[in-house]
Structure formats: C-alpha cells, structure tokens
C-alpha cells in the first residue's frame, strides 16, 4: 500500500465515522483543534482505523503522540514499513 493509499483509507474512515467533509481532511489538520474530535472520539478513531486496515494496534499508547491527520498517515506508514500492519 502506497502512502497515498494509506492517506486515502484513513481519510475515508474518518470522514465516514465523524461525518467530516473531505476538504477538511488536510494532512496538517489538527485532530482536536481543526477536526473537533474529543478524547472519546480518539477512542473511536483508533477503532475505525483498525477496521479500515484490518489489524489490531498492540501499542495504543504510541498513538498518544499523534496531533495531526498527517501524523496518523505517517504512523500507519511506519507500521507498514515494520511489517506490523496489513497496510
């Protein structure tokens, strides 16, 4: 899966779960400040990403450093590079 495909999959999952317009899903968009997701939403964000890529995150704490949508894309790409994700 290419980086673009990863970004498209993440964005599609987030757009559907939180009913966000696709044009808001820029890589630099801050998850809390720009997309308006709160701490409960982050719980569900992890779940939809797991579903979208068909894997379980074994280290959820690693996601706590994520601030922007681009951080999520990079996080999944790193998992792919390590061979940990279905991505």
């Amino acid at each position: 899966m290419t980086n673009d495909e990863i970004a498209a999959t993440v964005n599609r999952a987030i757009a559907e779960e939180f009913e966000l317009a696709p044009e808001r899903l820029r890589p630099e968009a801050h998850i809390r400040d720009d997309l308006g997701l709160d701490s409960l939403d982050i719980v569900d964000l992890v779940i939809v990403i797991e579903k979208a890529f068909g894997f379980k995150l074994t280290n959820r704490e690693a996601m706590m450093d994520i601030r922007t949508l681009g951080d999520i894309h990079a996080f999944i790409a790193a998992l792919r590079d390590k061979g940990e994700a279905g991505a």
Partner: protein
C-alpha cells in the same frame, strides 16, 4: 406558590412525528399500532407494537452527537427542539441556572444488549466504541440533552415504572411552583424494539388480538392485554410571570400533581392507590372533583389494570364522573413515556379545540360499574383534565392540567 404554565410541546409518537401529524391522528382516530411478525420469530407471544414512522434521526444531530445516545434519547432531543421552537425560547436562553431538565425513563435494555454484543463481537473492551458507556445509562436522555442544550440548571432522570413520565412533568412543575426554577424542560421517553419488552411479553401481559388496530381496547369487556409502544414526549414549563414577561403564548397550566404508592403488590394494582394520587392532584390544584372536566385514564387495556383504575376513578367520582378518555386505544401503552405524552396529547387537542374519542370501546365490562367512556370525538377542548398514570410496584402519579 408559583404557577407552572406550558409554553411548548413536542412529540415523537406512534401517532406521528410532528405536532400537526399527531393532532391529525388524534382527531381522526388513526391508530399507531401494527404487527411486527419478527417478534414471533424471536419467540414472543405477541407481534403487536406501536410503530414510530418517518422519524429522521439526523434532523437535529450528526452521527458523532448520536453515538452516545440511544434512539429514545435522539427522539427526546427532537421533541425538546420542537417544544423549544414552539415556546420561542432560543438556546441561549437556556444557558442559566434557572433552567432545568428532567425526564422520565426506566430502562436501557436495547443499548445494554448492544454493549454486550459489541464485546462479544470484538473480543476486547477497547474495541467496543466509546458510545456504549453513555447509551446504556438510565439517565442517557438527560445527560446527553444537558450537554446538547447547554442548560446550566439541574438535570436529572426519574424512574417510577409507567408513572415515570407523569412524575417528571409533576416534579418539573413543582420546581417552578416552589420558585426553584423559571424554566423546566421535561418529558419522558420509552425505548422501542422487541428486546425492550421481551420479558414483559413472557408474562402474558400483551394483547394478541387482530387486527392490530383493534387490539388495544381500554375498559372494553373483550380486552386481552396491552400493546407495547414508545417514542418521546417533551414539554417546556415556565413560571407564569417569566412567560408573560417575554410575551410567550400560554398553552396550558399544570395545576396539580399527586403521587402515591399502593404499598401492596408488585404487579397487581390496588383499589385505593391511584385514587389517593388522584385526590392529591385535585387538592393540589385547589379544585373539587366536580370541577374536573375530563379524565385521561391510564387504561392500558389489561383485564386487571383497567378494572382497578375503574374502581379508583369511582372512588373519587362516585356520583357524577366526568367523561373518560383512554388514548392508549390509539397509541398502545407508551410505558415510561405515557404520563408525559398524555399531557402533550391534551395540549394538542386543546390547541385544536377538540377532545379525541376512545377507540375500540364497544362493550362495557359487565363485571364493573359503568364509566362514561368518551367514544365519540367532542369538538370542545378537554378543559381541566385529570391525567392518570400507574405502574409496577403500585407507583401512581396524577396531574391536573388546565387545557381550556
């Protein structure tokens, strides 16, 4: 003592999902009851249920907002938004400590099952989703509505079985009459879905009569049980001076509220409990029984319940009983919601200048002294109406509402 007036109502009911459509159903006697054949496949004895048709979950709330809400809370929110619109109260006006919120509810069976199923499906709690935490709480309606509406006065949920809705409206009126609050958003909701009433079906309480629209027959000799129903009903109650100051149209007034307990049996209603609540409500209104124009009976169409209510009514009105209306003949039994929806229905009828007819009452019960059941629509408002509610555990609550 202050005065608590009604300045707005909203409802999501098996009779319709707007004030206009519900009023129309009441006027023409259109039943909200039908059969759901799936219920039999699930092992239930009765396929009958009230059905809410045409409700748009996304009308006011997006998916993120709805994820912490059971469907009945989404319906309650829609009913409140309609009521606020009628009351002409903008949401900014709610944001003060003198605006409170109270709803009646007594179950969260469907969301609790969904929660258990989510864990079974995902195999770990972290994958269940955050919404389950809030959806399966008994106070799911008030805690979600508080966050959505932004009122900073108190918000709480009251449970008293099928008297929950009447208790919510009565306690809201009390909060205003005692001077604690200026505005109370109140009402009640009842979850629909076969899971919510499966155990209730198992004790043989539900009607199995066909056609479905003729199954709920309060006080009729051939009644064979209730039809479960649900939805949400909301009212805006306001201190009369507060309402007058802002020029709000006054739709009615909660004149009196009375509660009691049978103190006898869990499931069999007694002969005096409901009448004690009726007497308390009439006295609280400062009225004599002969000043009551109409009774909106609890009358769920069960053999024992209707007979007990009949005896209770005749204890208060032994000589001249006012006309008795039994709207569950059209709606089925809206359970937790019914005590609040009764008041909304009364206000809607008053606004359109009629009192609905009780459907399916053809043959008075030969074992009971007669009651003047209103079987034809009258083209006059209900007037000062006594609304009865009674529930399991012998929980009784009555309201006297001025609907002239």
């Amino acid at each position: 003592m202050g005065r608590a007036v009604v300045t707005g109502v909203g409802i999501v009911s098996v009779l319709g999902v707007t004030r206009e459509s519900v009023t129309d159903s009441l006027y023409h006697g259109v039943s909200g009851i039908d059969a759901e054949p799936d219920r039999i496949a699930h092992g239930m004895r009765s396929a009958l249920t009230g059905i809410v048709r045409g409700f748009d979950e996304g009308r006011f709330l997006n998916r993120k907002q709805r994820k912490t809400m059971p469907l009945c809370a989404v319906q309650a929110h829609a009913a409140v938004m309609d009521a606020l619109d009628q009351a002409n109260l903008p949401q900014e006006a709610l944001r003060n400590d003198r605006c409170g919120l109270i709803f009646g509810n007594d179950s969260a069976i469907v969301p609790t099952l969904e929660q258990a199923n989510a864990l079974a499906e995902t195999g770990q709690t972290a994958s269940m989703g955050s919404g389950h935490v809030f959806r399966s709480m008994n106070s799911a309606i008030t805690l979600n509505l508080n966050a959505l509406l932004g009122n900073t006065g108190p918000g709480w949920t009251v449970s008293a079985a099928c008297a929950s809705g009447a208790c919510a409206v009565g306690m809201a009126a009390d909060a205003i009459r005692l001077g604690r609050q200026d505005v109370m958003i109140c009402g009640a909701a009842q979850e629909l879905g076969w899971q919510a009433v499966a155990a209730f079906d198992g004790i043989g309480a539900f009607s199995v009569r066909t056609p479905p629209q003729e199954a709920s027959r309060p006080f009729d000799a051939d009644r064979d049980g209730l039809v479960p129903s649900g939805g949400a009903a909301a009212l805006i109650l306001e201190d009369i001076d507060h309402a007058r100051r802002r020029g709000a149209a006054i739709l009615g007034e909660i004149l009196g509220f009375g509660m009691s307990a049978d103190g006898q049996n869990l499931a069999v209603p007694g002969d005096t409990g409901l009448s004690r609540a009726m007497a308390a409500a009439i006295a609280d209104a400062g009225l004599a029984p002969e000043e009551i124009d109409c009774i909106s009976a609890h009358a769920t169409s069960t053999p024992l319940g209707d007979a007990a209510e009949q005896r209770n009514i005749l204890r208060i009105f032994p000589d001249a009983c006012p006309p008795v209306l039994a709207l569950k003949s059209l709606t089925g039994h809206e359970l937790w919601m019914s005590g609040a929806s009764q008041v909304v229905y009364a206000i809607l009828m008053a606004r359109s200048g009629f009192t609905a007819a009780t459907a399916n009452h053809h043959r008075p019960d030969p074992d009971m002294p007669p009651l003047p059941i209103l079987t034809c629509r009258r083209d006059v408002p209900p007037g000062r109406i006594l609304c009865n509610a009674a529930g399991f555990g012998g929980s009784n609550a009555c309201l006297v509402v001025d609907c002239r």
